[in-house]
Amino acid sequence: MVLVLALGDLHVPHRAPDLPAKFKSMLVPGKIQHIICTGNLCIKEVHDYLKTLCPDLHIARGEYDEETKYPETKTLTIGQFKLGLCHGHQVIPWGDLDSLAMLQRQLDVDILVTGHTHQFTAYKHEGGVVINPGSATGAYSSITYDVNPSFVLMDIDGLRVVVYVYELIDGEVKVDKIDFKKTSSNQSTQ
């Protein structure tokens, strides 16, 4: 069982002062094995905070990030799964599933994690899963109205991944989960 935290679009301090207190109390160091972050932190303090939660931190560059050296895309393997990470402002139209699927094919990954729209989504399609963890602070977005703070925790176990989404709605943390299974461990054919 490997726990992967996926979050992003915090936009601290431009659009939000900090992570919601209820999230902060849930995110305890030492429980999570990997963090993948879709970008737009935007400042070093947030980077340092995430680093204290888990040293294996992967970040893709968002357009407001102070740090210019984060990569535009990143791929990594966790267990049986290949994961891809990208902020998403580069994929046009923004939030369009088919265009995101194209990126997924290009990176050749089972799970693609992107952000930018601040809207939590989790789609399954032929190529795999596309996840958007939303905005961990509920930051303003020109694309999505009424953003609730949200983040995603993935539990990777063999060929199965359970995606837990945590949303802060009216002051309460609500959890939902979605199951995905890979059909085989080797999906590159031809």
Partner: protein, 690 residues
Amino acid sequence: MPATFCLDLGSVYIKSKEAPAKDVLKDLVEMCRGIQNPVRGLFLRSYLSQVSKDKLPDIGSEYEGDADTVSDAVEFVLQNFTEMNKLWVRMQHQGPSREKEKREKERSELRDLVGKNLHVLSQIEGVDLDMYKDVVLPRVLEQVVNCKDELAQFYLMDCIIQVFPDEYHLQTLDVLLGAYPQLQPSVDIKTVLSQLMERLSNYAASSAEVLPEFLQVEAFSKLSNAIGKVIEAQPDMATAGVVTLYSSLLTFTLHVHPDRLDYADQVLGACVKNLSGKGKIEDKKATKQIVALLSAPLEKYNDIMTALKLSNYPRVMEFLDIPTNKVMATVIIQSIMKNATRISTSDKVEALFELIKGLIKDSDATPNDELDEDDFKEEQNSVARLIQMLYNEDPEEMFKIIETVRKHILTGGPKRLPFTVPPLMFSSLKLVRQLQGQGQEENPFGDDSATSPKKIFQLLNQTIETLSGVLAPELALQLCLQCAEAANDCELEPVAYEFFTQAYILYEEEISDSRAQVTAIHLIIGTLQRMHVFGVENRDTLTHKATGYSAKLLKKPDQCRAVYACSHLFWVDDHDNMKDGERVLLCLKRALRIANAAQQMANAARGNTGSVMLFIEILNKYLYFFEKGNPQVTVAAIQGLIELIMNEMQSDTATSDPSADAFLATTMRYIQFQKQKGGTVGEKYEPIKV
């Protein structure tokens, strides 16, 4: 016979009860008087104190009798104390004056011997408040004042406070405070006073039941007056000392009279009066004390707004030099963040920003490049976070808040604006959205003075302008696009067009870094793709420009990608009249030409044709529009492209690229999958051969 032997004898005698304890004690005290050497005398009397301790005729003690009472016990100890103090003081004057310091050190080491007597007094059961008031305190004070010795006075005044119960001090406050002016001028009276107030503060904090006592003895006014007198009597007192006194008094006031803001304000006012005329305080010790003084109400009330009700609070802050103002400002901001204090009116915002002005702008006095860059960033980021806490549900008030904040941050200069403008902007956009939600459409005959999205956009326009001259053109461009999108949602076509124009000008004139250009183009295309408010002409102009910029990016792969991204500008899903299949194809073909050119360049420059990655990307775009039903994207076109790719990959000059191979594989797999879906999709994909 050694004197200690006599004392032991005496002690045994008392125990035997053959004579009244008081008589024996009296004799022993007399005997000690015979020893004139101060140090020996001190030790001897200390020993006397020791052995007699448990044989004093206290109430309930076995030695109490008709002849022996508590008064006798008290008298005995008081006498011993008096004599010991005299001996102790005498030590000061023995020996050459050049050894003064050495003697003071010696005396310091012996002070507990003297103080012990007071401790013994406090342990006597029979010494109740009345006896303390009538006998003990007056006698002790008499000795302390009359000995006229600085060391003794300082130590003993403190000793009295530490050793006797706090309620006694409350009830004898007049007497105690009355002694202070009688002490030697060189005594550090402020420390003694501060310690007294601290003890009383803790006493007040320990239980609510004792608070009425404080009111009854009018502790606050007595202490205030005492402090006033002390400061008057010592005009050379260091500023740090003065502030410490007021700080202790303020802490006392906050504990004892938490609801009397006027008392707290009084204390601050007295402090202000004392500090006035001194200009900005730069002494580190003093500024540290002022920060402590100002932090106390913050910690007590957990609400900067309550602290601001103290009219003298800002006045005290005026005395701080800029570095210390910043320290205090940071303390205030941290308090607001920690307590999630909502600052909800423009007046409060105005007052707050006045207070923290050290963070907001440069002062005339300090050069602005003396601060470490990381520290500066942290400072400004905390101001940015603060701006998020300024909010009122009422749009009119919120707009006033925004105007107030804007007024202040514009004084911050070019280095601060990139930090402070974005949060202000997003607060404003949130307000726009709120007005949208309340159904405030643009009414051409409406009341012009009411807050409206249009008004807000005007403000934002002017604000973003300040950024563009200022080393933050990319940020300015991003903010313009945000505003454009918000204006789009409000159906304000001219406003949206204006923001786009600004963004384009920024792109053309100020963004020259290649990587920054690529990001900017993506944002322009992405935003434009979502705009529905533009009429045909405006849209065409903007689209034409965007594709132009895309084709002129420096690196061919970037050009290619930007151009095929532009294809989406001609095809918007939920708007049938924005689906121009021909122009989509034109874009894709243009992208192909660029990809070809890239191949040729690579061949010429490096002898191999480089990767086919771009072709595969374009193929995927073909498939995208094919599925969407663009009639111009035909099976033949797709087939042709697939063949092209295959040829390129198998050619001699091809470079192997595993990621391109993988992409092609996943693409082919996708086509297979779509074929197998059946239905209309399956039919569509059927003719494609892989």
